[in-house]
Amino acid sequence: MFRYLIRRILWAILLFIIITFVTFVIFFMGPNDPARAQCGGDQARPACLKLVTEHYGLNKPLYVQYWRFFDRLVVHQNLGYSYANGSSVNQTIAKAAPVTASLVFGGAVIWMMIALSLGVYSALRPRSLLDRTAMVFVLIGISAHPVWIGLIFEYVFGVKLGWTPIANYANFFGAPAGSGLPGGPWQWFYHMILPWFTFALLFAALYVRMVRANVMETLNEDFVRTARAKGAPERRILVSHVLRNALLPVVTMLGMDIGVALGGAVFTETVYQLPGLGQNLVVGIQANDFATVQGVVVFATVAILLFNLIVDVLYAWIDPRIRLA
């Protein structure tokens, strides 16, 4: 187990270096000259360009620049300053991250709740009405575009029925004083409910399908027959023998999907105008503010790597075959 963890941690560090490097190269090769962006775009004065170029070492070779970037990132934990308005990217992300975190984790809770209940029940009663309903849900979930689902939710529940707000975020700990924005836990929940469901739908559908298949497969295992031969009631068999084995691959998938999920948050945030990382990314792209974009990408990478590490530990903890290896 110890060796396994060390291996995963070293692997994560290596991935961090590779991904930041690729990120750096992508933005380095991008069409936008950061110096020009800093000096006010097309009307930039040559003196300003020269100053900025030298200040940031933009004329140095690629690897030197990467090293400066990496050094700044790791030693000073500094993601740089926005090309658009010079504000600290660190601060932008500090503001946006809780929004995205609320969306992703709340959504994940909903998607796992739907996936587990629907997946397990339809596995226990294949071809029943519930199973068929679940199948339709799965097909719609994987075929309808999340953006479209979001718009329909907004239209039906927000505009037509008026049950929920259709946009904006409410801070869980209360809005900043004098902002006039809504805040507090209830408002937070009230504002997030539609985004959560929108975000959760696609993954819920995929996971219903997977949980169902895994549970059905595990129900056919020999050790389940052993448990029945012992005289264990079906409920106990399900809880104690089937679920843990069936959910092992789900945990692995969760680790692999978190990156995709974070990407999916971009769409949800755009539709519901939530000021999260995704919206900052999109706004940054539209404003050619590549410092912010790069910051968001690097931050998301680190978050995903950390999350993957947690999933690895979790996996090792529930599977004794890895824990004791």
Partner: protein, 351 residues
């Protein structure tokens, strides 16, 4: 030791001694003799044909292709304007700046005729919703199918090379696959489309609308690992099969083994996964265009959705059309994929 006590023994066919006995005693064993040897593809087709849903999906996809590539130019000629033509003035856009409703007649300044917007205008620019839907289908299919081809091409070659040759080839390819998988794909694709996209947008190869090649390249770059993993696993399991050993025992060369014992078994998973991947790229393209980093000027279901956002309280139909088109297309590819999977491997779980 390897005695397997299968609960159901279905022995088909009767040759050799069994047949000899059967013809001697004239029993039921003999009746199995009549089962004709059928080819693999014939069996697959017979199973597929029974699946009405999959057949329906296939028909829908064929119609869609016709709709996008055959019907779109015809409709364009009939209505007298193109999908990108602007009708900036009333009644294509009303006084409140809202797009026109369906069945609106507008004056075409280029031809002087009065043109009909069947599904109304798509946006504040007054572009024709119907034509943009049709040309959007074209973009969707082009991006999705070309990306799938790209992804499968890289994935199958790398995956099967890793699986077949193992050793260093496998180590390197597998590590690169794992690294690619660790990238936050969506976020990277969005930033890539934004940074290098504008430079690539001009590549059209003379036939494709602007931006299509960009998306295909970006999708292929970040999407190949999925088929590569599947193909690697497939090839690894095939090459462990005793019949591959038997071929090597006989003295067959690598190329003969790959050609006659490995590749034929890859066709089924390749077809099934291609179909499912097409579905996901249809959604992906729409997503990027929705965010404004995919297809920018030409019609795409994604940018139709994004322009609908501005008016969905007053013109909800604008949001309905592209969304529905997207859903039906994705659904059709998904159902076709499921049907194909069942036809290829009837034991695979149903859902």
């Amino acid at each position: 030791m390897a005695q397997r006590d299968e609960k159901i023994v279905v022995s088909a066919g009767a040759g050799g001694l069994g047949a000899a006995i059967a013809s001697e005693s004239g029993t039921e064993l003999g009746s199995m003799e009549e089962i004709k040897a059928r080819g693999y593809w014939e069996l697959v087709w017979r199973r597929f044909r029974r699946d009405k849903v999959a057949i329906g999906s296939g028909v829908f996809i064929i119609l869609l292709i016709f709709f996008a590539f055959g019907a779109a130019p015809i409709v364009k000629d009939m209505v007298g304007h193109g999908p990108n033509d602007l009708f900036l003035y009333a009644p294509a856009v009303n006084l409140a700046g809202l797009p026109a409703n369906p069945m609106t007649h507008v004056h075409n300044p280029n031809t002087g005729h009065s043109d009909l917007l069947v599904l109304g205008a798509a946006n504040r620019l007054g572009q024709d919703e119907l034509l943009r839907l049709m040309y959007g289908a074209r973009i969707s299919l082009e991006v999705a199918i070309l990306s799938t081809l790209g992804v499968m091409f890289i994935g199958v070659i790398l995956g099967s090379a890793a699986g077949y040759f193992r050793g260093w080839t496998d180590t390197i390819i597998s590590r690169v696959t794992e690294i690619t998988m660790a990238f936050p794909v969506l976020i990277f694709v969005i930033s890539l489309a934004a940074t290098v996209g504008p430079q690539l947008d001009n590549i059209t190869l003379g036939v494709f609308p602007q931006g299509v090649i960009t998306l295909v390249l970006i999708f292929s770059l970040f999407g190949w690992f999925y088929p590569a993993r599947i193909m690697r696993a497939q090839v690894l399991s095939i090459r462990e099969k005793e019949y591959v050993e038997a071929a090597r025992m006989v003295g067959a060369s690598d190329s003969r083994i790959i050609r006659s014992h490995v590749l034929p078994h890859l066709v089924a998973p390749m077809i099934v996964y291609s179909t499912l991947i097409v579905a996901s790229y249809v959604l992906f393209e729409a997503g990027l265009s929705f965010l404004g980093v995919g297809i920018k000027f030409n019609a795409s279901w994604g940018n139709l959705l994004s322009s609908a956002v501005d008016y969905y309280t007053t013109r909800p139909l604008l949001m309905l059309w592209p969304g529905l088109a997207l859903m039906l297309t994705t659904l059709a590819f998904n159902l076709l994929g499921d049907g194909l999977r069942d036809a290829f491997d009837p034991r695979a779980s149903h859902m």
